[in-house]
């Protein structure tokens, strides 16, 4: 590059403040100088040897040079050293190109170098025209440090946002996979449940079948045994001896007991298979009905049946009555002396009612507190207290069918307190 400052373009001696740092020989139109001086961008002209011939106030502000100090010096001063060579090539290339102007930075970003050596990103266009002294290049340049910073923030924010979206998407995908798995597990469980329900229905049907068989076919031969033994006894009483009468007594007694067991077993099996739907049941009304049902036992024993306020629960009405009747009946049956007292109460217990039946009877040894709920388990001989041992087993089955639990607390000789829970439930969806 040849250093050949155009004397008509710049005059270092001109006062820098009069034309806003621009140096121009074209004083003809004052607006020209004002445009140069007021422009926010740097406007810099160079000659063919790339020496600066014009440096406006914007250029002074951006590069930190005073126009007076830079006019006539090489443009390379304003370019970071690593770009100098490239820049020179580009300018020469442009000088022979057909177009009159082009954007700089077509092959990457461009940077400016301030007087203090610091660099800044820039955006610039370059234009050329042929003047009397040869080609004049004019660069209009803008410091885009802030824009770059804003762009970076934008980019960073965008990246951050994308990262978060990716993270969230990954989370969602994971959650979705979990859900899918849960759904599959639930489906498997539902299928299993449906199978179990079918199995249960089958088993209930079998039980019904058994019930029917027990009701007809098992009783028929029993009746024959018992009835004909009794007929024998009636007809031949005088012709048989005392032993024969006793033996016949055992036969009949055995057959009758067997029949009671069959009937009790039937009743037990029907708690599940013949249970009715759950609906609101007033337990106070149940107790009132039980009083009627047990009237003879109550009158015979002089029992006092007292009930505290009892709730309305959602349950099988028939079974609630049976449950209370069995418990109250037992309380009377296992009395210690005349005029037994039976007290029924109810209290709330997390999401359930607990109903208690307290008596002042003979009580139960705590050792047997579990055993008494097992079917046909008895603690007394038939001579002491008649019965097959079905009552409490039925109670347990009824309570469990209602999702509750039954238990007994007792000190022998001081009475017993049976209590059962009835968990709260919504009213049934009627089929």
């Amino acid at each position: 590059m040849s250093a050949k400052p155009g004397p008509h373009l710049a005059s270092p001696s001109a006062p820098p403040d009069t034309a806003g740092g621009a140096r121009s020989t074209r004083g003809a139109d004052p607006r020209f100088d004002q445009i140069l001086a007021s422009a926010n961008d740097a406007i810099i002209s160079i000659d063919e040897s790339q020496r600066i011939t014009l440096f406006n106030r914007g250029a002074e502000r951006i590069f930190g040079y005073a126009a007076g100090d830079i006019i006539g010096r090489p443009l390379d001063l304003l370019i970071p050293e690593r770009f100098v060579a490239r820049h020179g090539t580009q300018v020469r290339d442009f000088s022979t190109a057909s177009e009159a102007s082009r954007m700089m930075a077509q092959r990457g970003e461009i940077y400016g170098r301030r007087q203090d050596g610091s660099e800044f990103p820039a955006e610039a266009s370059i234009s050329k025209f042929r003047g009397p002294e040869g080609l004049v290049f004019t660069v209009i340049l803008r410091d885009i440090t802030e824009r770059r910073a804003a762009e970076r923030i934008l980019r960073d924010t965008h990246d951050e946002l994308e990262r978060r979206v990716r993270e969230r998407t990954a989370e969602l995908e994971e959650r979705n996979a979990q859900l899918q798995q849960e759904i599959q597990e639930r489906r498997r469980a539902e299928k299993l449940l449906a199978e179990q329900a079918r199995e249960l229905a089958r088993s209930n049907a079998d039980l019904e079948q058994f019930a029917s068989v027990a009701s007809h076919d098992l009783q028929e031969p029993l009746r024959m045994v018992a009835s004909y033994t009794q007929l024998l006894g009636r007809r031949y009483r005088s012709r048989l001896d005392g032993d024969a009468d006793e033996f016949m007594g055992f036969i009949v007694d055995g057959a009758l007991r067997m029949q009671r067991l069959i009937n009790d077993l039937l009743a037990f099996s029907r708690v599940g298979s013949r249970g009715k739907g759950f609906q609101p049941v007033d337990l106070a009304a149940c107790v009132a009905q039980v009083r009627v049902n047990l009237r003879s036992a109550i009158e015979e024993s002089g029992a006092q049946i007292e009930a505290a306020a009892l709730p309305v629960v959602c349950a099988d009405a028939t079974q609630m009555e049976q449950l209370l009747q069995n418990l109250i009946g037992n309380a009377i049956k296992f009395r210690q002396g005349p005029a037994p007292r039976v007290h029924i109460d109810a209290r709330r217990e997390d999401a359930a009612w607990r109903i208690g039946v307290q008596d002042d009877g003979i009580g139960i040894d705590p050792r047997y507190a579990e055993r008494i709920f097992v079917i046909f388990q008895r603690l007394h001989t038939a001579a002491e207290y008649p019965g097959t041992g079905i009552g409490l087993a039925i109670c347990k089955k009824i309570v469990e069918r209602h999702g509750g639990h039954i238990e007994v607390h007792s000190t022998p000789g001081e009475g017993a307190r049976f209590s059962f829970t009835l968990p709260d439930r919504e009213e049934p969806p009627h089929a």
């Binding site: 019930a211 029917s212 009701s215 007809h216 076919d217 009783q219 028929e220 029993l222 009746r223 024959m224 018992a226 009835s227 004909y228 033994t229 009794q230 007929l231 009636r234 009949v252 057959a255 009758l256 029949q259 009937n263 013949r274």
Partner: protein, 149 residues
Amino acid sequence: MPDRQRPIRILLVEDNPGDVRLTIEAFKDNRVDTPLDVARDGVEALAYLRQEGIHAGEPLPGLILLDLNLPRMDGGEVLAAIKADPALQHIPVVVLTTSRAEQDVQRAYLLQAACFITKPVDFECFIQAVKLIDAFWLSVVTLPCGARG
């Protein structure tokens, strides 16, 4: 037993010979001398009631004691056939069975059984039941004319 002017017959429909005999013995023990005819199953019972074949000329019974567990045609079917037959539907049918199953009871009454009696296992009770059947249906109750033999 109170005096009886009307010669009322009873048809016992029962397949078990033990039960047939027991019923006869129970009547005997009660000193009831009501004529008792026996049909061993449902088909025979209907043939008897419709006076078919060997039963031609037999008088209609005033009361039918019907077991439910019968071969060939069960008690329910016999009951339905009797109640669907204009010539027989007026005859009271007492269901006398071992069953105490609720569905049997329901069905019997739906089919217009006069009453449902579960045979007591205890013979003393059975005798008592027969006595009551006799006392109620053959003495207290006024049966329709067609039911007289």
